[in-house]
């Protein structure tokens, strides 16, 4: 009863966060193909109307990664879901959403934003590092 409601609140907040991130990175696309290695993340992403989950990394526009042992194509736009992944793929990442110091952190990496010519809206600019 109670646990189901609480999980729904957390998922709801996470869905809105990823909705905002994906819309910012792909402002022109009406449908974005997303690959993820996390079933929990897939559950959240399925609720975003313009996101289409794909099974192959190669056919994805965007990869959300939670494990460090994944072979990631170097030409793909990727996002870290976890601090270990953020450290491992920092050079290629557009950014990451992970816990650190007891807080939920959202980070965008300046060099890669410039490389992919991604323009952030004003309320996301403060998360650029």
């Amino acid at each position: 009863m109670i646990v189901t409601t609480l999980l729904a609140s957390k998922q709801d907040a996470e869905r809105k966060i990823y909705e905002s991130i994906i819309k910012t990175i792909f402002p022109q696309k009406s449908a974005v193909a997303v690959w993820t290695d996390s079933e929990k993340k897939a559950k959240v992403l399925r609720e975003i109307p313009f996101v289409k989950l794909v099974e192959e990394k190669r056919s994805a526009d965007f990869l959300i990664i939670s494990k460090t042992d994944e072979g990631i194509p170097e030409d793909k736009k990727i996002f870290a879901d976890g601090y270990l992944v953020f450290k491992a793929f920092k050079k290629q990442l557009i950014g990451g959403f992970y816990w650190q110091k007891g807080r939920a952190n959202l980070i965008f990496i300046k060099n890669n934003l410039q490389k992919y010519k991604i323009d952030l809206p004003s309320d996301l600019k403060k998360y650029v590092k």
Partner: protein, 624 residues
């Protein structure tokens, strides 16, 4: 009081200010919804009070007793030996065995004393994420021996830390504290947390017949938690020393000695397998040394009055348990078996008399609990536990059981909880066995465990920004244990009853600003009261930009005992924390600022003594 009114005004003012930016709000909402207590709390275990990570940080608490001080029922006081005691309204101190403390899955267990909860009351909690306090609960849900108050401490998760923290603090009385922890995930399968603490707490001293009454304490703690492919290993070393305070003498004229030194080293291992079977293993080595000298005379059972009291208890525990959960859509069935092997050794020197003895206690337990959901609005809970106690020497075997039935009903914004529990208080070995020496107490190997029946009900209303809880409990105890100076520990005839109630209200202006208030009371049905019959606790949490404000007021009513009239008390704490950056913060916390905190009366001592000191703490915290 003017300062308190100013704080109330500030709380309302800052509550009107909202956080800005949509993503900021989403991140805060996500953090809120991900609060770990939302996953760990067990509403079916009884009435629960939660201190979240955010609460603990903003309150600037240093040790567990900073949190326990705010508890309504039971509230905390101080024994004549200087250690923390737990007290229900109108009553004297609760038995040790009634209070159970868990650090993650590890229970505070001691066959000699009943529990080590009081020892851990002064532990630094910088490595603790959140605290849950269950009242009128049996411990069936959490394993371990029975208890009516369960304090659960959960350590921080490495997956949410990925870094460390150092905290240094000192106060206006000369106390010092140093905490440090580091937590990290090294791979997808391996993570760890390491914590270290040392502190010296300086307390106000008093004088009685030229003797100094000193309750300073020193603590040291090293804790490590590892998680490898689901195998969780907690290793701990905790040591606490408390100066004698009033000592053990009948005239309260203690000499300067080491007082009480407690030390526990343990390793706790747990693993939940894919089949939903959970294995728990514990090895614990506890040593408690009591060192008191009082030329006015110390009561020591069959030895009569002595002057020098030196007693060391060693308690080694090995325990193991296997538990299984079977869940379907509407039903959750939980069952377990456990075995605990306690070995005790006591070495005492009372004046010229030297005594040594030992014993073993094996405890076998089998337990089960079932929760069935009737639709989405009603849950029925039934529990049963059997405990079999087998002593190696002299003490007769005991078989006891705990039975519990409860219902949780949700109707729109209302929730009703009702429980009936039949349980017992486990007698510590110190009351049962002394190898015939009957010192320092006259023991009774035939002493029965007191039985209790507990009926409790809670009505809760949850609004969009507020919650209101009304709680009531009725407890009656049969075969309760008394101590008679000629007969020793005995089971009294007849029954004692106790009623308690609480009204708790919380209003959340927004994520950063909230107010909580609790009003409580109790009645023990006797003519004589040993503590206040009612009290209240009010807490204000506020934030403005980079500054956290926290204020609390603990009120306890007046009471009369031991021919002393003790005045009502208003214990006011106020703190401010400035977050200079994401990594560095500075805090000031003033405690008992009105110098009007709760006073404890002691038998044949001429006046009541304040349990809490007036002081100001200065703190620096750095995260990396």
């Amino acid at each position: 009081m003017l300062y308190f009114r100013l704080c109330c005004f500030l709380s309302l003012f800052t509550a009107a200010l909202q956080a800005s930016g949509e993503m900021s709000s989403l991140l805060l909402a996500y953090e809120d919804a991900s609060e770990l207590s939302k996953i760990t709390r067990s509403d079916s275990a009884g009435f629960v009070d939660i201190y979240t990570r955010a609460d603990l940080e903003r309150m600037q608490v240093k040790t567990l007793d900073d949190v326990l001080k705010l508890s309504s029922i039971p509230f905390t006081s101080r024994a004549q030996s200087g250690v923390v005691t737990f007290v229900k309204p109108t009553k004297a101190g609760m038995p040790n065995s009634a209070i159970r403390l868990f650090i993650n899955d590890k229970p505070s267990t001691s066959g000699v004393y009943g529990s080590t909860s009081k020892m851990y009351a002064s532990m630094s909690i910088e490595h603790i994420d959140h605290i849950e306090i269950y009242k009128t609960a049996s411990s069936l849900e959490f394993g371990g021996e029975p208890g009516t108050v369960i304090i659960k401490l959960y350590t921080k998760l490495p997956q949410r830390e990925e870094g460390g923290k150092v905290k240094a603090a000192f106060d206006t009385d000369g106390s010092t504290l140093l905490d440090a922890y580091y937590a990290q995930t090294l791979s997808d399968d391996f993570s760890y947390l390491i914590f270290a603490n040392t502190n010296k707490m300086k307390r106000d001293t008093f004088t009685n017949q030229t003797k100094e009454l000193n309750s300073d304490t020193q603590n040291e703690n090293i804790f490590a938690s590892f998680d490898y492919t689901g195998w969780k290993v907690d290793i701990s070393h905790y040591k606490k020393q408390t100066n004698p305070f009033l000592g053990k003498g009948i005239k309260y004229t203690p000499e300067e000695t080491n007082g009480i030194e407690s030390k526990e080293d343990y390793i706790h291992i747990s693993k939940t397998f894919e089949s939903s079977i959970k294995l728990k293993l514990l090895y614990s080595d506890l040593k408690v040394t009591e060192d008191f000298v009082d030329n006015g005379g110390i009561y020591a059972g069959a030895l009569g009055m002595i002057k020098s009291y030196h007693n060391t208890n060693k308690n080694r525990v090995f325990s193991s348990s296997l538990e299984k959960i079977h869940s379907t859509k509407n039903n959750r069935f939980f069952a377990g078996v456990s075995f605990k092997h306690d070995t005790f050794a006591t070495d005492s020197t009372f004046d010229a008399g030297v005594f040594s003895y030992d014993n073993i206690l094996n405890t076998y337990s089998v337990y089960a609990e079932n929760s069935y959901d009737f639709g989405t609005a009603t849950r029925l809970i039934t529990s049963l536990k059997f405990d079999f106690y087998r002593y190696d020497k002299e003490v007769e075997d005991k078989n006891n059981y705990i039975a519990r039935v409860g219902i949780i009903k949700n109707i729109d914004s209302f929730q009703l909880k009702a429980f009936y529990t039949r349980s017992y208080y486990l007698n510590p070995l110190a009351s049962l066995y002394s190898a015939g020496y009957n010192a320092p107490f006259i023991t009774n190997p035939d002493l029965q465990n007191a039985e209790q029946e507990l009926s409790s009900i809670e009505a809760k209303y949850s609004g969009e920004k507020s919650t209101l809880n009304l709680r009531f409990s009725y407890i009656n105890v049969k075969d309760y244990v008394l101590y008679d100076k000629t007969k020793g520990f005995i089971n009294a005839t007849g029954k004692k009853y106790f009623t308690q109630y609480e009204l708790k209200y919380q209003y959340r202006f927004n994520r950063d600003n909230k107010i909580e208030a609790v009003f409580y009371g109790g009645d023990n049905g006797d003519v004589e009261n040993f503590s206040p019959s009612n009290g209240a606790v009010i807490k204000l949490f506020n934030r403005y930009n980079k500054v956290d404000f926290y204020n609390d007021l603990v009120y306890r009513d007046s009471y009369s005992t031991y021919d002393i009239d003790v005045r009502r008390s208003f214990d006011f704490t106020s703190s401010v924390k400035y977050h200079y950056s994401e990594s560095l913060s500075f805090g000031i916390r003033g405690e008992n600022l009105f110098d009007d905190a709760y006073q404890q009366a002691y038998k044949n001592f001429p006046y009541a003594i304040s349990v809490y000191d007036r002081k100001i703490w200065f703190t620096m915290e750095y995260m990396f």
